[in-house]
């Protein structure tokens, strides 16, 4: 008897989004299994962040369907959306930490706003999360502007995981970091995803990071998924755009330039 296939955690079907007639997403179809880590790659402006923002309801899609645990995310009421958002934790490209709040309040923001714990208990919990992320204890009383880029990314990760979400979304978690700090952030992401048993969707341009954290990779080009497969098969995708992106070649279909022939190379 065939084993019953589990329903994917996230299903995106025929997602379309246009801004003032400019169609950024033309037809996005994606599925993410529970516990899987999917990386979305693609050139700047191809619509990766828009896809994540549509999933969170920050942007309303023009058409299409996005389901999480079978629940439709498009067209939800505010109350339904707020309930659904409890499943998510997200880090933004530039951290998006709240400048006016100290680090511990940033990490425990959602919990504090919902009055679920006392401020003292929240501070203790923030210190615990900070130590898990390799941050010094005194950092929690500092403000975001006092931290380095790498530390801000750790705090953003801490805020994303503080509420133990089922789904983690990362928008370019290693952008602007040196390779070593980027590697540390990748390890923290892997560790957090594993510890929470979460499903992860990551946007990244950093191919070393993608190789480290992704189970599967999807590439968006001209508003469509042009390839989706296991991270280990990226190099054998057979798709010229994927090949060019993965190897970072300046010439190729993504840039509209022809690859030089062997003869031209010799010349």
């Amino acid at each position: 008897m065939a084993k019953k296939q589990a329903t994917p955690k996230i299903i995106i079907e025929h997602l379309v989004k246009s801004f003032d007639g400019n169609m950024v997403l033309k037809d996005i179809n994606l599925q993410v299994e529970a516990g899987q880590s999917l990386c979305i790659i693609g050139t700047s402006g191809c619509g990766k962040s828009v896809t994540l923002k549509c999933l969170l309801g920050l942007i309303t899609p023009t058409s299409g369907s996005m389901r999480v645990d079978g629940m439709e995310m498009v067209g939800q009421t505010r109350a339904q959306r707020e309930e659904a958002l409890r499943k998510f934790g997200m880090t933004f490209q530039f951290g998006a930490l709240f400048d006016s709040l100290p680090i511990w309040q940033n990490i425990m923001f959602r919990t504090l706003q919902q009055g679920e714990v006392s401020r003292h208990a929240a501070r203790e919990e923030a210190a615990h999360i900070a130590s898990q992320l390799g941050l010094r204890a005194d950092v929690i009383d500092q403000y975001p502007a006092e931290l380095s880029g790498g530390m801000q990314k750790r705090v953003a990760l801490g805020r994303a995981i503080a509420d133990k979400p089922e789904i983690l979304l990362f928008d370019e978690p290693t952008s602007g970091l040196d390779p070593i700090t980027g590697g540390v952030i990748d390890n923290l992401i892997l560790d957090a995803v594993k510890r929470l048993g979460a499903t992860a969707m990551t946007i990244s341009h950093d191919m070393a990071s993608v190789r480290r954290i992704a189970d599967r990779v999807a590439m968006i080009h001209e508003g469509r998924i042009i390839w989706c497969g296991p991270a280990t098969k990226m190099h054998e995708s057979g798709v010229p755009e994927v090949h060019q992106f993965v190897h970072g070649h300046p010439e190729g279909p993504l840039t509209g330039k022809k690859l030089p022939s062997a003869k031209e190379k010799q010349a």
């Binding site: 969170l56 998510f88 997200m90 530039f94 709240f98 400048d99 706003q113």
Partner: protein, 257 residues
């Protein structure tokens, strides 16, 4: 010619659309001000920022305005031997007009700009989106406390400004123009009515609301990058200053008499 008319039509439609957007924004902000959860800490922070930290600038402005007003009215009224009305002119001008308008304009420059810059920066650095994903309504967390604080603090500032402005007139009247202190004070109180002060306070509440509304609206809808935040800040100050002057006339006309 047709192009010219089309451009006028387009500009008018854009103008009406922005009025519509602003009205919807204001309606949503007012609605969220009265619905739970209430962000007391945010409100306190805004009250401190708008009320307490604006005191020096409002105090200085009204002090020197009161002083100048005493000097100018003395110079003018001396021409038809009406110098003894200086104290009355100072108190009525400060409480009914100068106090609220000057405090409003100064706070518009200080607070309107700061609100637009802060919220605009939060917009361009995704902090507003982050708030949203953390199950916190940005309208309720960012805008509602600012509107409430603006509406509460401006009347308090104006009341203090009125006292300081009258004091400025008193200092010039007594120590520079040689009025008798007792007579100056009695003249100050003689024709002052409660309605003069309340009119100024009503105006102040309207101005406070408008300043916070324009700061939040332009910040919330800020364009991308530093340029977008810069435009939002300029627009917030310019629009709130213009609205202060327009609403000043409207409120005065409403309570005229």
């Amino acid at each position: 010619m047709l192009n010219f008319i089309a451009n006028i039509g387009k500009a008018s439609l854009n103008f009406l659309a922005s009025i519509g957007r602003l009205t919807l924004f204001a309606a949503a902000a007012i609605r969220w001000t009265f619905l739970p959860p209430y962000y007391g800490r945010q409100l306190l922070r805004q009250i401190l920022d708008i009320g307490f930290f604006s005191l020096p600038v409002v105090g200085l402005t009204t002090l020197f305005s009161g002083m100048v007003l005493a000097l100018q009215s003395y110079t003018g009224f001396a021409r038809f031997s009406a110098e003894d009305t200086v104290a009355t002119v100072v108190v009525l001008s400060v409480t009914r007009e100068l106090g609220p308008v000057l405090a409003g304009l100064m706070v518009a420059g200080r607070i309107g700009a700061s609100m637009a810059a802060e919220i605009g920066t939060m917009r361009v650095t995704d902090q507003i989106d982050a708030l949203d994903t953390l199950s916190t309504r940005p309208m309720q967390y960012l805008v509602a406390p600012r509107l409430l604080a603006g509406t509460i603090c401006l009347p308090v500032l104006v009341l203090i400004g009125d006292i300081v402005g009258v004091l400025g007139g008193y200092l010039v009247g007594v120590y520079q123009l040689g009025f008798n202190p007792g007579i100056y004070l009695s003249r100050t109180m003689e024709f002052l009515e409660v309605s003069d002060v309340t009119l100024g306070l009503i105006k102040a509440a309207v101005f406070g609301f408008l300043i916070a509304l324009m700061g939040c609206y332009h910040g919330y809808n800020s364009g991308r990058g530093a340029e977008g935040v810069g435009h939002a800040t300029t627009n917030a100050v310019v629009s709130s200053s213009i609205l202060i002057l327009i609403s000043n006339y409207l409120v005065t006309a409403l309570f005229f008499g």
